[in-house]
């Protein structure tokens, strides 16, 4: 078990900067997800922790111990590869025992631990078979078991669930959470799937283009995205982000939306924007879940009118695509009250709206 400090780490491949001044503080026993789109640098970050890549600048420490120059073999890291990297020419038993055998753990001790791990991973009946005969689901369990058996000080998982079928993925997500509790180990989990990250992690580090966008607990990130990228990336369905220019006339503040619509800003979001220096370009963000239909609930809420273009069923609810001139708003219709083609009023609650500076992407006002 170990805490990890990533201190201002930069990694370049030729002219391409994969990781750019990244700092993260991961506490002992925490489950942290590195979340970001493909190519954002999350896997490179993980590889640097594992020692597969050396950072060009900055340092990584396990507790007080610096990792610089330490051999991969000595880092004692449990690493679960995306494609599992199981030794398919060996038996399941030999796979599980590998990390113990190379450390010359006594035979009876190996025997005991392999049996216990097989039991834990539900692989006892497979122990004597060649690993190449295992199903994908079993390979996944074997990969985790093989890493866990050596009691690594940290666990790194590289998109471990992406090859699984939907049913087993949900099961494995729960299983991973249980395992992390049992092992009590620091786990770092790389994924591009925000739902996985939200449901598993104690903390999420959102990375884009090699830079840390935000680091915090899932709900904190969901409720308080620090910038436009995070707001856009986290949450399903995606947050409505309406880009436009500000215009002030006769005391009222309006967002002239690029698609032609006008939104009269009021309440908290108006204050958020006015608190900062004047920004010409602003992006107004509001989650589909927060937009409501029917009657006004608060005096400050912003009223809009639009035509229902598409209704999409998502589980028990429907997702409505409501068009206001050129702009589409995603709205949750949870009582099946809308019909395609209707022109309906809907409200953006001022308390829940967020404003982002369009050029820097940063959140305006409350943070």
């Amino acid at each position: 078990m170990s805490s990890i400090q990533i201190d201002n780490v930069t990694k370049r491949f030729g002219n391409f900067t994969a990781v750019d001044g990244l700092s993260l503080d991961i506490k002992d026993g925490e489950f942290v997800a590195l979340l970001g789109p493909s190519g954002c640098g999350k896997t490179t970050t993980m590889n640097m922790i594992a020692g597969l890549e050396d950072p060009n600048e900055g340092a990584i420490r396990f507790g007080a111990q610096s990792l610089a120059g330490m051999r991969i073999q000595d880092r004692n890291i449990g690493f679960v590869f995306q494609n599992y990297a199981i030794f398919t020419h060996l038996s399941v038993w030999k796979n599980l025992a590998y990390g113990l055998e190379v450390k010359r753990v006594p035979r009876n001790e190996i025997d005991r631990r392999v049996k216990a791990m097989a039991q834990r991973m539900n692989l006892t009946h497979r122990l004597d078979q060649t690993a190449s005969k295992l199903s994908v689901n079993e390979l996944q369990k074997l990969a985790i078991g093989r890493s866990a058996i050596v009691e690594p000080r940290i666990f790194l998982l590289d998109e471990p669930l992406s090859n699984l079928d939907a049913g087993f993925r949900a099961y494995m997500r729960a299983e991973l959470k249980v395992l992390q509790h049992e092992f009590g180990q620091t786990m770092i989990y790389v994924t591009h799937d925000q739902i996985e990250a939200m449901s598993l992690a104690d903390k999420i580090a959102i990375i884009d283009k090699g830079k840390l966008m935000q680091y915090g607990a899932p709900l904190e990130i969901y409720n308080n995205p620090r910038n436009r990228f995070v707001a856009n990336f986290v949450g399903s369905p995606r947050m409505n982000l309406i880009d436009g220019e500000l215009r002030e006339d006769a005391g009222s503040l309006k967002l002239m939306v690029h698609g032609g619509a006008e939104i009269a800003l009021s309440g908290r979001v108006r204050k958020d924007i006015l608190d900062e220096q004047r920004h010409a370009g602003v992006s107004l963000g509001v989650r589909a879940q927060d937009i409501y239909l029917g009657n006004r609930r608060a005096a400050d809420d912003i009223e809009m009118r639009g035509v229902v273009e598409v209704l999409e069923r998502v589980g028990p609810r429907r997702l409505a695509y409501i068009q206001v001139l050129q702009t589409i708003f995603l709205v949750i219709d949870d009582q099946d009250q809308l019909h395609v083609g209707d022109e309906v009023p809907f409200f953006l609650p001022s308390e829940k709206c967020m404003a982002f500076d369009l050029s820097s992407g940063l959140r305006l006002g409350a943070a």
Binding site: A50, I72, Q73, I77, F81, F87, V102, V150
Partner: protein, 311 residues
Amino acid sequence: MTSVISSRSSGKGPAGYWNRVARDKDKLGFWFILPIFILLLFIVVFPLLMQLYLSFTWWTPLEGTPWYMAWESFNWGEYYLQMVMDSRFWGALWRTVLIMIVAVPAQFFLGLALAYLFVEQFPGRKLFYSIMLTPMMIVPAVVGLMFFLLFQGTGPVNAHLGLSPEFSWLTDTNRAMISVIIADIWQWTPLMFLILLAGMLGVPSDQLLAAKLLGGSNWQNFLKIILPRMKSVIAIAVVLRAVECFKIFDLAFIMTKGGPGVQTETISLFLYKQTFGELEWAYVAAIGLTILIVLSIIAAQGLAYMAKNKG
């Protein structure tokens, strides 16, 4: 429609026959492979049978009897008996096996070590790779000549090692064999290297990484992950070299002519001398056939081993 029915009913004519052949896929296949089958018959089966036939006679080209009349001197396998009693044959066989059991393992271990070096990227890798492969591109007779010159008493080897010109390699009863083996190792290690490198590059890199992360040292991972995964490639390389080595001729012929005496006379050299020196062609046929059978058994064993360890 009617024509198909009529051709089927009157299936006795030539057109009807070919129609039936075309419908019967197995028969059609047979007709397609027939030409190559006949060709094979002439280039493989016919010479083998001829060899078998001659090996049971006293026939030699000196008497002017055509080979197909050889049955007139049928000898009921006397030459096979002679072969079993021929100490020169057994000597040649032993020396051939000796070259094989020294040179092939040496080539294997050298090739394996070199392949392991070349798995990693390093500056100049491509250049060294090309240089490494050069020896096997050279005609064996030329390699023989090179080593013939290198191992002369006044040659560079003695000069480099500071030995006197009287210290002979190619005319010394023990060192002649060592010289031939060194030449063979020099020429054929690259082939071993090439095959083993291909096999080694086929070992999934993430498995090696996983093994490292589990704490395995490079040596442990090499023994437990790389080598077992290369089993079938190793079998191919070793069988190939063993069979090739058994046929060694050019190197020894140029370097020592089998000498001094018969100290480096291999099976191929022995057969050559029997053919063109003694002109005992029927005897050569008997030995050649025996060697062929022995080699086939070795190769078949190797291939069976590979099939068993597939994957």
